[in-house]
Subunit: 298 residues, 2 copies
């Protein structure tokens, strides 16, 4: 089997297993299924859950697209390669309870007809309320996966995430970061194997880490005040995705499937002008984490 086929099959399996795990932890919600095909070649499986017991809106998407290389890809990769292949799994989960964090993961493989190929991906957490122990648990799990890949991997990819997930016009991060890596060259067979193992390890990490956070926080009682803060923080999530996120921008510019691309946007959002939490409140404490990215694992 060709490499790309191996990857594609594994990604489809991962999508299924994550869906199963999330549905179990949610307890009520079920993911719908929408298969789509791309006019130029390939397609995907969009799986969306709305109004579950824990998940308010969640998407777990797989795609594998190919065909003649679109111009924006040619200029972005400075290549003349006539055809491309790209496959990936993308997840965004917006929970109901303000104490359960938003999570995002993307793992992807990209190949050009000139023989070059790359892996990219990342996973990051966006709590409205930051619990120190949850942040430590999340980053420790990621560090473990990264350490298997290379001694500097965690610190490099963690610092990438802190830069990438910054909302420049707010001078704050969208959450507490995670890891982010892009265009890691995979043309060399040894590099390919290392990166493929790493990609699988990142993907396999998703369910145990996130279902544990769901379980831990899903029954925490909340009121209007906590809901207000959640909707407020979601406005920052929407700003990041619409103004800065590279995948979103690229998708919209290349006439991608708008509904799949913007699936990442929160279900309900509140833009409250000139709002800042009072010192001493839990909201204020959480805001500090967004102003100064923390070294979770020293």
């Amino acid at each position: 089997m060709e490499k790309r086929e191996v990857i594609k099959s594994w990604f489809i399996g991962l999508q299924k297993s994550i869906i199963t795990d999330l549905e179990i932890e949610d307890g009520e919600g079920k993911f719908g299924t929408e298969e789509w095909s791309r006019p130029g070649g390939g397609g995907g499986i969009t799986r969306l859950l709305k109004n579950g017991s824990v998940i308010e809106k969640g998407g777990v998407n797989f795609s594998a697209v190919y065909g003649s290389t679109p111009d924006p890809i040619k200029s972005s990769f400075k290549t003349k390669a006539s055809s491309f292949y790209a496959t990936g799994v993308s997840i965004v989960i917006h929970p109901q309870n303000p104490f359960v964090p938003i999570i995002h993961m993307n793992i992807r493989y990209f190949e050009l007809s000139d023989g070059n190929s790359w892996f990219g991906g990342g996973i990051d957490l966006t709590p409205a309320y930051v619990f120190y122990e949850d942040g430590l648990f999340f980053h420790t799990a990621l560090k473990k996966v990264c350490d298997e890949f290379g001694p500097d991997a965690y610190s490099t990819f963690k610092s990438n995430a802190d830069s990438y997930f910054t909302i420049q016009h707010r001078q704050e991060t969208r959450g507490i970061g995670g890891i982010f890596y892009d265009r890691l060259p995979a043309s060399d067979p040894v590099e390919f194997e290392k990166l493929w193992e790493f990609t699988k390890a990142v993907g396999k990490q998703f369910s145990p880490v996130y279902t544990q956070l769901m379980a831990l926080r899903k029954n925490t009682p909340f009121g209007d005040n906590e809901k207000f803060w959640q909707l407020h923080r979601r406005s920052r999530y929407a700003e990041f995705n619409l103004v800065y996120d590279a995948g979103t921008k690229f998708g919209l510019q290349t006439n991608g499937r708008t509904e799949s691309i913007l699936m990442s946007l929160p279900p309900m959002v509140r833009w409250e002008s000139n709002f800042a939490p009072f010192e001493g409140t839990p909201e204020f404490e959480s805001q500090q984490y967004f102003s100064n990215p923390k070294e979770w694992c020293k």
Copy 2:
């Protein structure tokens, strides 16, 4: 008095008079006042109303800024002029009732130290529910103002607005348009006078047109269904402003005052995936207007 001082004073007066008119029509809400100054020179008066009886969130802003020309302006205007002056009034009103349309207006004057100057501006209407008679009333009022300025002005500026206020990734407009014009050269004194009269006419038109629409629709009863549609359409408004709006992009890139720039965003927004209204419903009828810009005044 220098031209720029005449314009600035008139803009400040317009801001005051619009605030008065909107507060009267709202009946309850009062605009707060925030004066700010720009480190490089100049400043503004931000006036914001939250949770009025008719207006859920409204901003009526004045600014006059100047100083050494920022690099993005130099490259955008292809100029080496060392200093600039810019003054304008910007308005966005998000009403409570889904039957009252969102309105946006901006009028501005821009001057460079090399002697070149320009006027720009526009006004456009974004109803969630489109009433034919409201659209006709709005566009007829704008056409009257434009006809005084020049025989082709309305058709040119109307068609500018249809292009400008398009959400490309949705293949729809954000509302029912209006007029939009930019960089109309004002260095010649005769042109300046014409443009200044036109700018004042656009500004003076705002209150009578919008307060009439507020009065007409503010008491229309509505339920959850209409509120859902309003929040849904507001998501398109947010997408347009964050992804395409030139003023927003420019402001965020030039480290403008984020809270003033993003004042235009709706207070509450809902992103519902894969949502489209059923044929035959008022929501479906309204959606048709966003898919095909209409010739209101033939």
